[in-house]
Amino acid sequence: MEKKSLIKRLTGSREALLAVVLLVLFVLVTIVNPAFLTPKSLMDMLKNNAVTMVMALGMLCVMLVGGIDISIMSTLALSGMSIGMLLKNDVIASTPLAFLIAVAIGIVCGLAVGLVISRADVPPIIATMGFMYVFRAMGYLVSNGGQWAGAAALGNFKNFATTKFLGINCVIWVVILCYAFFFWFMKWTRTGRMIYAVGSNPSAAQVSGINVKNIKLLVYVIMGLLSGLGGALQVSVYASAMPDMQYGGEMDVIAACVIGGVSMSGGRGSVLGALLGSLILATIAKALPLIPFFDQLWLNTIKGVIILVVVVMNVVLQRVADKNALRGREM
C-alpha cells in the first residue's frame, strides 16, 4: 500500500517528478563521465547559468498572471551595457553601485513594459516584442555604436564573479538569495498569493477587491528588476559587456519555466518548479559535451525535443486523468 501511495504522490506532484528526472540525469551523466559530479564542475554549472536561473523567477511571476515577456534579454543587454560603459569610462568604480544602477535601469524598463500592458491593454507578446527591439537598440546606442567593454575596462567589477564567500562563489550567492526570497515571497506574503489569484481567476480576483492592473504592473517590474540584475551578473561572469549579449536567451528562460511546470495560461507554477526546470536545462547543457557522440551541436535540438515532450506529456496525462475521473462518476 505504501509503495502505491508513494507513486501516487510522485505522479501527483510535478515538482517531485521533476526532481526524480533531475536525479536520474545526474546519475546517468556521472556514470558516463565521473568528472561531472565534482564540486567545481557543479559550481561552474551554477555560475554559468546564474542569469537564466535568476530570470526564470521573474518569468514565473509573469507567466503566473497569464503573460509573457520576450523583452527580458534586451533589458539585460541595456542594463549590462550601461554599467559596462560607465565602468569603462571611469564614471563609476564601485561594484555595489554598478549593481544598483543595473537594477534601477531594469526596474525602469519593467515599469515601461508593465504600464503599456496593464494600462494600455496591449497584448503581452506584442508589447514585449516592441520593447525587445527598443531596449536592444538602446543598449546598442549606449555602447556608442557597438563597442565592447572588455575585461580590462571593467576593473574590479569582474572580480565579483571570481570572489568566494564562505567557499561559494558570489554569483551563486546571488542566485541562492534570490530563490530564498522568492520562496518566501510567493508562498508567505499576501502579494505573492495575489499574483496566484489573479492568474487563477482574474474576474474573481477583481470581485474580491484585488487591483488586477497593479498586480500585472508589479510582475513586469519584478521581471525588469531581475533582468537588470541579470545584466550585472552577465557582465561580471563573462567579464565583458556587448550590446548583443544573450540574444535569443529569453527562450531559454521561458523553456526553463515550461519544463518546470509553469502554465502558459496562468495560475499554475511554483518557485521550486522554476528552479528544477532551469537546473534540468543547465544539466543537459553541461552534460552534453561530456557524452561521446552527442556534441554541443545537438544541444538545441535536444532542448527543443524535451520541451515538446514535456508539454505533450502534460496534455496526455491530463486527458487520462479526466477520462478516469469520468469513469468514476456514478450513473
Partner: protein, 502 residues
Amino acid sequence: MSEYVLELKGITKIFPGVKALNNVQFQLKPGEVHALMGENGAGKSTFIKVITGVHKAEEGEMFLNGQKVDFKGPKDAQAAGIAAVYQHPTSYPHLTVAENIFMGHEIIKNRMIQWKAMNTEANKLLAQLDADFDATAEMGTLSVAQQQMVEIAKAMSTNAKIIILDEPTAALTRSESEKLYTLVDKLKEEGVSIIFISHRFEDMYRLASRVTVFRDSQYIGTYDVNGITNADLIKAMVGREITDLFPKPEVKLGEEMLRVEKLSRVGYFKDVSFGVRAGEILGLTGLVGAGRTEVVEAVCGITRPDSGKVYLEGKEAHIKQPSDAMEKGIILLPEDRQKEGLIMSWGLGRNVTLPTISKYAKNGLNDEKTERDLAKKLLEEVDTKAVDIFQPASSLSGGNQQKVVVAKALSQEMKVVIMDEPTKGVDVGAKAEIYAIMGDLAKKGYAIILISSEMPEILGMADRIVVMCNGRKTGELGREEATQERILELAMEKSSGKGASK
C-alpha cells in the same frame, strides 16, 4: 433596531437598452430564510448583484438594520456582512481550499501568511459543514457540490450576517441537497438571514418562510409560504394562464426522422434511446446536469459518443463533426448564444450565413449580394427586431438574438432542429414569438427536439417528453399523461436509492 435586517426600496437598474430592474422592493427579517423566485430573466441575478455591490442601481435606496447604505463595490458589501454564494462558484481553481476561503482576509502575522492557522480554521469550518475533504485540497479537483460548500464556508468565515444562495441546489444530487438543507437550518439557528434563489418548489417549501416573486424586472409580491398554493405561485411567476403562451398547433405526424439508439459517452450519459418524427416536437428535460445537452451534442458530432447509433430516416448516420450533421440535415441551436450560437461582434447577416457560405459561393469567393438578400429574407421571416443586417449581434436583446440563431438553422435545408434552452434569458413577449416560430417549423414538417428545464414550456409545447436523470433516460411521457409532478418524479429518480451501486 429596525424590523428588517435588509430593506430595499424602489430599486431600478438600467443596462444599455434594457431595464433589468424596475422599481423593485424587498424586505428581509432577521434570522429568516427568504426565497426569491421568478422565471429566467426576471431580474433575480441583477438584484443580487445590486445587494452585493457588484452593480450600482440607478435609482432606489438600501437599508441595513435601518441605516441607509451605499455600496461602492463588492468590498463594502463584504464589510457590511453580506456574502453571496453564486450558482457557478467564483473560485480560484489552482489554489487550495483554505486559500479560497480566506482570499481577501487572510490570517496574517508579521506580514506573513499563517498557513497553519488558516488550514486549522478552514478545517474547523469544513467540519461544521460535514465536508469530506481537507482544507489543503486543490479547489479545481473538487466537485461542484464540494466547491459550493467551500463558498459557504467562505461566507461563514467573514462572519456574514446575510448570506445569499443563488440556485445552490441546481447542480446537486438529492442527498447533497439534503445536506445543504441541514446546513441552511444550522445557519438560521445561528441568527444568519438567508436569501435563497431557486427554481425548485421543493427547496422553497423545505426551507423558506416567506417568498418574494419577481417577473419581467418587476416586483410582484411577497407571500407566506404556508399561505400560497403552487398554482397561485406559478401564476405570479408566469403572469398569465399558461395555455395562451403556447400556440401549439395540431400537426399530423410524419415518418420517423431521427432515431438514437443506446447512445453512451463515458461519464456523461449511458444507453440513451429516443426517436422523433417529422412535425413532432420532442421535449427533452431533466435537472441541470442530467446529460441532456451532452446527448444532443453527441448526436450532432460536437463530441463523439463511445457507443450507440444514430439513424436518420431509417439509415445509420455516421457523424464525426458538426458539419457532417448539418450536411445530413441535423442542426443544434446551442444553449449559450454568446459563446456557441453567435459571433457577437459580427453583423447579423454574416452570423446567419456562416453555416452555409460555401453554398452560394462562386469559385470559392463569397457572393455577398446573394448572401445579403438571403440574410434579409431569413431575418424578416423570424421577425427579428433589427434595423439592418450589419448591426452587431451584441446590440440585440436576448430574444432577438435567439431569433437570429433560429435564422441560422433556416439558411439551409434541415430535417431535424434541436433547440437547447431556446428561451433562456428571453423576456416573456419574445418567448411567445419563439414558441410561435417553433410551431411553424413543426407545421412545415421539421422534426424538433426541445431541451428545456422550464416545466410549463415542456408541457405546453412538446408532443412527447423524454426525461433524463443522471445521464440515463428515466422515462418517456405522452402529451396527455405528462404532468409537472410526474416529470419531477422521473427527473429525480436517482434519489430513490439505486444510484449508489457501482
